[in-house]
């Protein structure tokens, strides 16, 4: 019997990987909830407003994009536009070549994961080093991040210690403190040797052109203190209308993502460094990346573009906790990924049309999302799209015959009584795969079709 790929992946997942993902997600979720509900009288109100602000941005990108471009230029930033992943990577390479640069230090940016920038640059003879501790470990391990905020949630310290040893970063030692110190000592010299610092952006204010970057480790600050050229790769949906809105969004992002009141480093960048400041980029580029976003915008799932990549929906998701991020075969796993990843595939949508099915539609993601994205509705829309495009879906029972039955009361009643046969036949023999899949894990209750209808007609009157 064939099941869905993600289910298969989950079944084969190593027990300690599942435990690591489960524990990490659960802890993150519980801390977040406690913080929000302890501190605010009505945290839901904040989520709803933030959602409205971002939906407004998404539906008015035609106004905001030119506005933000003009502000950035006025701030002395060179603005590039990249329709595709390839164009974005080429733009970075072009900037590096023009400067005679060969070494890049990279802060964590999901959009550069989308474009596989580091690979691309390495293929073209450039060094592109990840500096976020988790991303650095993923890079030296030739692995992939499995969470958008906690990239190595799937790894334990022993695996990390082993790969540090393999990569010449000291003899095996799995103490997290030692691991972190070794990375610190190795990376600080790399920053200072680098020519270019690459970051993403958490928000861009259309009003001021200010780019806001948050990190806990301070790696993006290091990129912007040590190098002379800053390149920011930014998805076109990252805009907030005003600086004023940052007072709301920064509060929500830190609490939702990492259960903090505020992320340790929150940097507001409105151009190259000030002339009197000795450290930092003299040149600054912003590359606005589309890479499928305009198709999402054109779809009925455009609400997903509100996402501020906090990861709260991953942490709370029971399917993510069981399956881990790699099960989603995408840069964006979990509930947000189940919507976004198939859409970003554009015409190759069918390849990831199974992702939206990996959900019990429990709605926990919607309940925690700081921008209140109705993720279950979007998953449903994509399931409908998959059906309309005739994408095969292993294990899903066909609904046509059922619909016929359920719209014909006489036939329905007949089958209610007829279903009794199930009580006498071992269901293993029945030619209904869904039934067998059910019974593999659970007992089926006795069939009592028609009993209620009979009772209703003959019931004893109370008065």
């Amino acid at each position: 019997m064939r099941f869905q790929q993600i289910d298969q992946f989950s079944a084969e997942l190593k027990a300690d990987t599942r435990a690591a993902v489960y524990d990490g997600s659960k802890k993150g979720h519980e801390k977040r909830t406690k913080l929000l509900y302890d501190e605010f009288p009505d945290p839901d109100r904040l989520r709803h407003i933030a959602g409205e602000v971002k939906q407004h941005v998404v539906e008015n990108l035609d106004t905001y994009l030119p506005q933000v471009e003009a502000k950035l230029k006025a701030n002395g930033v060179i603005v590039h536009w990249a329709a595709t992943a390839e164009a974005a990577n080429e733009a970075v390479l072009g900037i590096m070549r023009a400067r005679g640069a060969t070494k890049m230090v990279k802060a964590k940016t999901m959009v550069s994961e989308e474009t596989e920038l580091a690979h691309f640059l390495e293929k073209h003879g450039m060094e592109a080093l990840e500096t976020d501790l988790g991303e650095f470990i993923v890079q030296i391990d030739h692995d992939h991040p499995s969470h958008i905020v906690k990239p190595i949630i799937h790894k334990n310290r022993r695996e990390i210690a082993t790969s540090f040893e393999k990569n010449g970063l000291g003899a095996y030692n799995d103490d997290p403190q030692t691991i972190t110190r070794r990375a610190r000592n190795f990376l600080r010299h790399k920053y200072l040797e680098a020519d270019v610092g690459l970051t993403g952006a958490n928000f861009v204010s259309a009003e001021s052109g200010r780019i806001v970057l948050v990190t806990n480790e301070g790696n993006s600050r290091f990129c912007l203190a040590a190098t002379k050229c800053h390149i920011a790769m930014i998805g076109i949906e990252k805009i907030v209308p005003r600086d004023y809105d940052l007072g709301l969004f920064l509060n929500l992002l830190a609490r939702s993502g990492t259960a903090q009141d505020l992320t340790v480093y929150t940097e507001f960048i409105s151009g190259p460094k000030s002339p009197a400041q000795p450290d930092g980029p003299e040149e600054m580029h912003v590359i606005f990346v589309d890479n499928g976003r305009t198709e999402v915008l054109a779809s009925e799932c455009r609400d997903i573009l509100r996402c501020i990549r906090c990861g709260a929906c991953l942490n709370v998701c029971p399917v993510y906790r069981q399956a881990s991020g790699h099960a989603y075969r995408s840069v964006y796993p979990g509930p947000v990924g189940a919507v976004l990843s198939p859409l970003l595939m554009k015409e190759k949508f069918p390849q990831k049309a199974d992702l939206p099915k990996a959900s019990s539609l429990c709605g926990a993601c919607n309940e925690v999302c700081p921008v209140n994205i109705p993720i279950p509705d979007l998953l449903l829309r994509l399931r409908n799209r998959a059906k309309e495009e005739n994408v095969p879906s292993p294990g899903t029972p066909p609904m046509g015959a059922w619909a016929l039955l359920a719209s014909q009361p006489t036939a329905w009643r007949a089958s209610l009584f007829g279903g009794k046969v199930m009580n006498y036949l071992p269901t293993k023999l029945l030619p209904i795969p869904a039934l067998r899949a059910w019974e593999a894990k659970r007992a089926l209750p006795a069939w009592r079709g028609g009993e209620f209808r009979a009772w209703m007609k003959n019931r004893p009157k109370q008065s």
Partner: protein, 216 residues
């Protein structure tokens, strides 16, 4: 890819992609009968008013800084004692601050007022001026205008930010309103940290492992 001459890239970045994106955005939005309006709201909703009560900004700031494992001090002597206790005897100091601080530092300290990036590992501490602070979150505000060296405030194990008591903003929205025209403002809330390895909190990843605010 084709080799593009440097100048071409700097002056005319990808105008075809720009047009393509803009026209796709317009096309995607054209069928919408109405656009979602901007909500009218106040960021006051996100302020931790209850936690702050009527207390003064400095009290809240020190309390919140401790919550994120930072240290708030008000006496230069206390700072010197801390540094000595941690055996952090060599460091960098903003030349503007040094005349005020120097008399309190003993001969056991080596303090430089120029920062040499080739000797990044030599500085155990860095002392720089802050542009202000945020009480609500225990945050120190650094800006290009007030911070003598971005690296000086970042690479040493200990960072000491000298904060003027009058420049402590009460909350995030106030601090956002005060961002001003500096091309780089950074809010620092406690020591640099990570929980990437098994969710265990480790401080001092790339930036300081010890964050001190000296409020004057």
């Amino acid at each position: 890819m084709d080799e593009k001459p440097a100048q071409a890239i700097l002056t005319m970045p990808s105008s075809a992609d720009r047009e393509a994106i803009f026209s796709r955005v317009r096309g995607a939005l054209a069928p919408l009968h109405e656009r979602a309006p901007m909500p009218d709201y106040t960021t006051e909703l996100a302020v931790l008013r209850q936690m702050m009560g009527n207390r003064d900004a400095f009290t809240i700031f020190s309390e919140r800084l401790v919550r994120v494992n930072g240290i708030a001090l008000t006496e230069i002597a206390a700072l010197v004692a801390r540094l000595r206790e941690g055996k952090w005897l060599q460091g960098y100091c903003d030349p503007v601050l040094w005349p005020m601080l120097a008399p309190h530092f003993g001969a056991d300290f080596t303090v430089e007022t120029t920062y040499d990036r080739k000797r990044v590992d030599d500085y155990a501490f860095g002392i720089t001026r802050a542009a202000g602070a945020i009480a609500e979150t225990g945050t120190i505000i650094l800006s290009d205008a007030t911070t003598s060296r971005r690296l000086g405030a970042l690479t040493p194990w200990v960072h000491v930010a000298v904060v003027e008591r009058a420049k402590i903003y009460s909350d995030l929205p106030q601090a956002v309103a005060a961002l001003g025209s500096d091309s780089n403002v950074i809010w620092v809330t406690g020591p640099s940290k990570t929980a990437d390895v098994e969710g265990i909190l480790i401080e001092g990843v790339h930036g300081p492992g010890v964050q001190i605010a000296l409020v004057v």
